[in-house]
């Protein structure tokens, strides 16, 4: 059992408000990822929960028990740091058992938990090495081991994968999620990497400038972004955002001359909307079809599995993603050529002037 409740968290640096009043509820067994650009306050928020940063207002509690004023060491939370923060003068075993020894846990328990963690992380045989004698991936596992042996109520992760190379990072991502499921722990994971957020999270908390922009499952966040910021932060290549006016012509909705298929909405027409379309949400044809507009191709990028087409329609610049294999347009597209595109029925989003998603879209 470990429900973490954050209520009215606030943080100032001088008179600068870095975390405006913020509430957050994390349920037992959940894997929650705090994601956002740098300076979004995600690390600060994590450290406030950990007790490492002073909280200027608000409370944090576990299972209803207020732990706001409690020492970081007395919260029953363990943290894995970005730099791993292994104690360089201690061996792997000493690093991993340090917290238990500080608590005065019995030797037998310590030995047992150490052995179990070493086995779980395939670190057997390394227990007498110093951190300097380990590879980056091994250090990362020791850092995790240090958290695991404590069997804490909550795991806190502060970008623990960002110092690994790309291959190892992908593998560790999986292992870490498996570990979480096996331990049934509550985890709060901070990252700036949207792939990590999407692949690992039960729920994503997307932050910008200290404010929660959206909380939801990866799917919700991707498919129903609550505002422009969320839409553009998640997804690669970035979502196409076109500024313009909306008007209704009989049964069709038109956005700067682009037909928006599928849904018809009751809303005031006007000129102050933003249309968002993911690069993969286009029907593409070599010849004009109903509702298509011509796209003048500026450049084409081939990545192996996909082809990215960069071009312009009347409404503005556009990126379109095509599968590399088995597509009619595979050959014959290149800078200077034209293709014809239209948004798919479910693939577009409309944001109003303040950046909020328009209801029902």
């Amino acid at each position: 059992m470990a429900n973490v409740t954050v209520q009215g968290f606030q943080k100032f640096y001088g008179s600068l408000e870095v975390i405006p009043p913020l509430d957050l509820e994390i349920r037992t067994g959940e894997f929650v990822v705090l994601v956002g650009p740098s300076g979004s306050g995600k690390s600060t928020l994590l450290r406030m929960i950990a007790g490492l940063e002073k909280i200027d207002a608000g409370t944090v509690s576990i299972d209803g028990e207020d732990i706001t004023g409690r020492d970081p060491g007395d919260r029953d939370m363990a943290m894995v740091f970005q730099s791993y923060a292994l104690y360089p003068h201690m061996t792997v075993a000493e690093n991993m058992t340090f917290a238990l020894r500080m608590r005065g846990t019995g030797d037998a328990v310590i030995r047992e938990r150490l052995a179990e963690a070493l086995r779980m992380l395939s670190l057997e045989g390394y227990e007498n090495r110093k951190p300097a004698q380990l590879s980056g991936g091994q250090r990362q596992r020791v850092a995790m081991g240090r958290a695991i042996v404590r069997q804490p109520r909550v795991f806190l992760f502060d970008e623990p994968l960002s110092n690994l190379d790309a291959k190892l990072r992908a593998r560790t991502r999986l292992e870490l999620r498996e570990l979480h499921d096996r331990l049934g722990a509550t985890s709060i994971f901070v990252t700036h990497d949207q792939i990590e957020a999407m692949t690992m999270a039960d729920r994503i908390v997307l932050l910008d400038r200290g404010r929660i922009q959206q909380i939801g499952s990866p799917r919700e966040i991707y498919e129903k972004p609550r505002n422009r910021f969320v839409a553009s932060f998640i997804g690669s290549p970035e979502i196409n955002l076109l500024e313009g006016g909306l008007h209704v012509d009989g049964d069709t909705m038109l956005f700067n001359g682009l037909t928006l298929p599928g849904r018809k909405m009751e809303m005031p027409t006007g000129s102050e909307y933003t249309l968002g379309i993911r690069p993969e949400a286009f029907d593409v044809a070599p010849e004009p079809l109903a509702g298509t507009v011509p796209l003048a191709i500026r450049a084409v990028e081939y990545t192996g599995s996909d082809v990215f087409v960069f071009g312009t329609i009347d409404a503005g610049p556009l990126t379109v993603k095509l599968p590399a294999e088995g597509h009619a347009l595979r050959d014959g597209i290149g800078a200077g050529a034209f293709i014809h595109v239209r948004p798919t029925a479910e693939g577009w989003h409309l944001f109003d002037r303040s950046g909020l998603r328009v209801a029902n879209t």
Partner: protein, 275 residues
């Protein structure tokens, strides 16, 4: 290529020329330690070798130099021990922990200011203070003043070493359940031992070299080496040989420091200027 070689030769001529200007006079003076007085006075370049000056200096009845060496060592070791303990603890707290800003500001600001003010403006006051409580001329007075005098440098130096510890390491220890004191003893202290050795060496050298404080606060019984050397030079009939011998003995710690720890000397000397 020839141009590069030419400029290389020029550069080396200049710096090694300067090195010679440092070394030449030094060796000339020190060589007097092994000459008879008559050879020193006549300026003989090649002269018989002798240990007599050292004998006179260390073991003759009129000379207290052995006691002076001992005094310098006692004062140096004691004041250095105090400085290192005090500076390391304060440096850790000021660098790694949440201290009220005004406390930080006051301590560091005052340390910096004191570090730069002429020592001579303080010795008069110290003299009167210690005299009025009957401590003038005691080891205690010299040790404590040497300690406070070298504290700013040691503090800044230790802050640079402690500041080099990753912040996350301290936070990890806090998460693992350490109190501030435990973070210091179990994490910070073992990791800045190298820095402490550097600071110890430098602090000792400064205490050993000090003249102004020792001149005004020591008595005959606690007189240190630099004061003794100055006394030689002030006598009517200067004993050049013994003076040179004393000088030679007094620079041994400095020579050891150069041989063992070149790297941190400049860093220590500039501590306080950069902070």
């Amino acid at each position: 290529m020839t141009l590069r070689l030419g400029s290389r030769i020029l550069a080396n001529t200049v710096v090694w020329g300067y090195a010679l200007v440092i070394l030449g006079p030094t060796l000339w003076v020190l060589s007097n330690a092994f000459k008879f007085k008559i050879d020193i006075i006549t300026g003989a370049t090649i002269s018989p070798f002798t240990w007599i000056n050292f004998n006179e200096l260390l073991f003759s009845r009129q000379s207290d130099f052995l006691a002076n060496l001992l005094n310098s060592a006692v004062i140096g070791i004691a004041s250095t021990a105090i400085v290192i303990v005090v500076a390391t603890m304060a440096a850790f707290t000021l660098t790694c922990l949440d201290v009220r800003p005004w406390v930080r500001w006051a301590l560091l600001g005052w340390a910096l200011l004191f570090h730069m003010l002429p020592t001579l403006t303080f010795v008069g006051s110290w003299y009167l203070m210690f005299s009025s409580v009957g401590l003038h001329g005691t080891y205690f007075a010299v040790i404590m003043t040497h300690a406070v005098h070298n504290l700013p440098m040691a503090l800044f130096l230790m802050m640079s070493f402690v500041g080099a510890l990753p912040r996350e390491l301290i936070q990890a220890a806090r998460m693992d359940g350490c109190s501030y004191g435990q973070v210091f003893w179990r994490i910070a202290f073992p990791l800045v031992r190298g820095g402490m050795i550097a600071a110890t060496a430098l602090t000792f050298i400064f205490s050993w070299s000090d003249f102004a404080i020792s001149l005004t606060l020591t008595s005959r019984d606690t007189m240190t080496v630099p004061v003794a050397i100055a006394t030689f030079a002030q006598e009517y009939d200067i004993r050049y040989g013994e003076m040179a011998a004393g000088t030679l003995l007094s620079i041994i710690p400095a020579l050891l420091l150069i041989l063992l720890g070149q790297n941190f000397i400049v860093r220590g000397l500039l501590a306080g200027a950069v902070k």
